[in-house]
């Protein structure tokens, strides 16, 4: 049961990483700012600008 919980937590962490939610949390912590719509937009714009200049795999 403990292992199952750990695997579930790992899966959720992976999904949050893929969804950029973890990166956003790190961004807020690094800059010491609270969550807001404007802050998300700032983070998201920077993140997506970097992501969409790199080739995607076939």
């Amino acid at each position: 049961m403990k292992r199952l919980k750990k695997a579930g937590a790992l899966l959720m962490a992976l999904l949050r990483e893929l969804a950029d939610e973890s990166a956003y949390r790190r961004h807020l912590a690094a800059h010491g700012r609270p969550h807001s719509a404007a802050e998300w937009r700032r983070f998201s714009d920077d993140r997506l600008r970097a992501r969409y200049t790199r080739a995607r795999c076939c």
């Binding site: 990483e17 893929l18 990166a23 912590a29």
Partner: protein
Amino acid sequence: MKRTIGCLLWAAVSALAALALGTVALHRGEAINSMWLVLAAACTFALGYRFYGKFIAARVMALDARRATPAERLRDGLDFEPTNQWILFGQHFAAIAGPGPLVGPVLAAQFGYLPGTLWIVAGAVLGGAVQDFTILFASMRRDGKSLGEMAREEIGKLGGFTALATVLLILIILQATVALVVVNALKGSPWGTFTVAATMPIALFMGLYLRHMRPGKVLECSLIGFVLVVAAIFGGQAVSESAALAPVFTLTGTGLAVAIILYGFFGSTLPVWLLLAPRGYLSTFVKLGVIFLLAVGILAVRPELQLPAFTRFTDGTGPIFGGKVFPFCFITIACGAISGFHSLISSGTTPKMIARETHAWPIGYGSMLLEGFVALMALIAASVMQPGVYFAVNSPAGVVGAIPAAAAATISGWGFPVTAEGMASLAQTVGEKTLFFRTGGAPSLALGMAHIFAGAGGRAVLGFWYHFAIMFEALFILTLIDAGTRVGRFMLQDMLGHVSKPLGRTGWMPGVIGASAAIVAAWGYFLYQGVRDPLGGINTLWPLFGISNQLLSAVALCVATTILIKMHRARYAWITGIPLAWLVVVTFTAGWQKIFSPLANVGFLAHAAKLAARNAAQASETRRLIFNDRLDAVVCGVFLLLVATILLDSVRVWIGILRGTRPAKLNEAPFVETSLDLERV
């Protein structure tokens, strides 16, 4: 004691691998269960990971757990961030798993299941995983530098430029090829077209939801998007049964090509948050979910393979694409065995997020083996269909005959019985008008997947699963197209910036529109050419894509070999040297045959000559086909020339270092001892 148990366990895995591979390779006549393929791959991959991967990690690269990674030294909370190795494993796998490992094996199944299986198993262990691992290692030691930057630093300016030009050319061919796969899957299919079209407004809604309604709630938003997409599949069924709406969503190949070209253009010019990003998130989750579902389905159903180990088409007369099993099986299956594109991912985000150097082993080597599994599952999905059905779906009308009865007779004449009535009944079951001439691999993969899913959940829902699979394939192919066009636009603007400063500015609208239009026009031309090709187009474009992808892999392996030699590990240069030599032989043979083969079903120039000899050269359609053949020959020649350039340049560098006439200057970041607490990652 523990060591003895370990040795016994690995001896048992080795024996099982030998038994499974022997069974797969030697079994003839009766149908074989797909579990033998799964077992052969699982045991071989486990052995490859445990012994070969570990050997490379420990002896060749000497991964050092004490050395701080770029994620630790340059930590900025955004790009550079130490990440849990299994999370990063999942992220890296999600990035390398595209449509390639799904479509390539389906097309290569025309040779039978055995050539593809053996190539996936051997290629992934000895080639693909080695390439991904070595490039990830090299980039990690260089603060996350890209393949192009490493080529420039380690080989020279010529190498760097060649790598950049190769990537841009490959992007163009890739976009056209995968777009053609979507066109052929949706042609004349109102159900599929509606479902895929509905993903556009859904993505726009998701973009607005994420931007203005619930900022930051990506998982929540993606879940809503997924529910809407599934609702769109049911909506598609209603549309296909509606006398008024069905004709609106019944598009020709040309109509669909124009729609995808326009989509690529808008995807490249619209703000990323509005369309690309929400689609990207949704596509990633759906992709991982479907791959997991397919694995569970195969394990639950354990289907028998209907395709033989070898078909008669190993002799090069295949209807899906021309050319013998060597070299064409090895360029048709690229991703899944070895893919140059992976080197771009291994030198992209991943090296900036590795917490410990030793994590590069499971992430670089291990995730490629998992990709090999995905390719194997696609091959199984194609092989569980009746061979007659497989060839009826994948053969172009230009080869088997434009009328279903004639096509069925031709395919049955090859020894793969199929009837026009049987195909019509199957088409009706999955909610399509016809399944004949659906070249490109996606429809047959969808059929195979639907067959497996329906085996686990009942045949009544075959139509739903078929369109679910089509939606899944189209969704992430279109994500590849919009992102690829944008990347191509950036690369072009980067080059144009050297000529005129404003053209290089990515925020200057005329520059953005001009560069986007140029990139879209480039791949759109090849797409249009494929759509109008009487032989289905995929027979031309997929080999071109395969050759270019494998050549990019050769570029990556040149860089990796150069780095190994500079690290004074020349005695281990065979690790990358053998796959490099294999790829050079395979791709140059394939490239040469595609240009100069005297057989019209293989060589571009021979096909052009055959058309010209028909004495119909005055017809504009024939003139266009001849021009396209010649253009394809030129593109193929350019690929070969680019890679020959970087190969010769690399050999020059290797000889210089080994002779001592050139300094073995490594461009690694200096050693800094780690102080990272892994428990806190």
